[in-house]
């Protein structure tokens, strides 16, 4: 299960997807939206994806994880569109025979998402907005 969605994320769906009789461990990661960044008070986040390519890249990183560690199954779902503070923006679940592989592959997945998967986060904060990573924001009208 590798997809982007504009619906709220449900961890139980990922856990059910990776459940496997050969697994002795399931690790999960939930990325949530924080109310502050670099000293800015964040009001809301808005995610955008190149959906077809993002899903391809998620599949690719899942295949790469399977080559690196003996895991059973992996699920990644990333939310796009507006995400309120405290809500999850990404969920990952990995099942494996043993916990070491499950932890390592889960960590690898979130690091790869942040490094290479074409998804972007716009932060709306008090006094402006910014596409994270571009250092270039536009002040909000009237501020």
């Amino acid at each position: 299960m590798f997809r982007v969605t504009d619906k709220p994320l449900v961890l139980q769906e990922l856990i059910e997807f990776v459940t496997d009789p050969e697994a002795g461990a399931i690790t999960t990661f939930i990325g949530t939206t924080r109310n502050n960044n670099d000293g800015r008070k964040v009001i809301a986040l808005d995610y955008e994806a190149y959906p077809e390519m993002a899903e391809k890249e998620l599949v690719r990183l899942g295949e790469e994880a399977k080559k690196k560690w003996p895991i059973c199954r992996m699920a990644i779902v990333h939310r796009i569109g507006p995400v309120q503070i405290t809500e999850p923006s990404v969920m990952i679940a990995v099942s494996a025979g043993h916990r070491e592989a499950a932890f390592a592959a889960c960590r690898f997945a979130i690091e790869e998402i942040k490094r290479i998967v074409p998804i972007w986060k716009k932060e709306v904060y008090e006094g402006g907005e910014i596409w994270i990573g571009t250092q270039s924001g536009q002040p909000l009208p009237g501020r």
Binding site: A49, Y50, R115, W131, T134, Q138
Partner: protein, 81 residues
């Protein structure tokens, strides 16, 4: 020949469009297309931005030669998670 360009995130806002179709010469590269786009959309040039390039949803380098009806995306720094 024609290629389809999609804009995302800061580049979509700068271009004022999500998509464009461009007529380019045979043998044009990703870098050549970027020059044309910068001419057509002057605000696309974000100072100091590090772009990646994708053709038909696969990462490529700037010297990649384009083919008719390719889908080309200039990818600003990703920030998912």
């Amino acid at each position: 020949m024609k290629v389809k360009v999609k804009f995302f995130a800061i580049l979509r806002e700068r271009a004022g469009a999500a998509e464009a179709t461009k007529e380019i010469n045979e043998g044009s590269t990703v870098a050549d297309l970027w020059k044309i786009l910068q001419r057509d959309y002057p605000k696309l040039d974000v100072p100091g931005i590090r772009l990646l390039y994708a053709v038909n949803q696969e990462y490529v380098t700037t010297d990649h030669v384009l083919k008719d009806s390719d889908e080309v995306v200039f990818i600003p720094p990703v920030s998912g998670g």
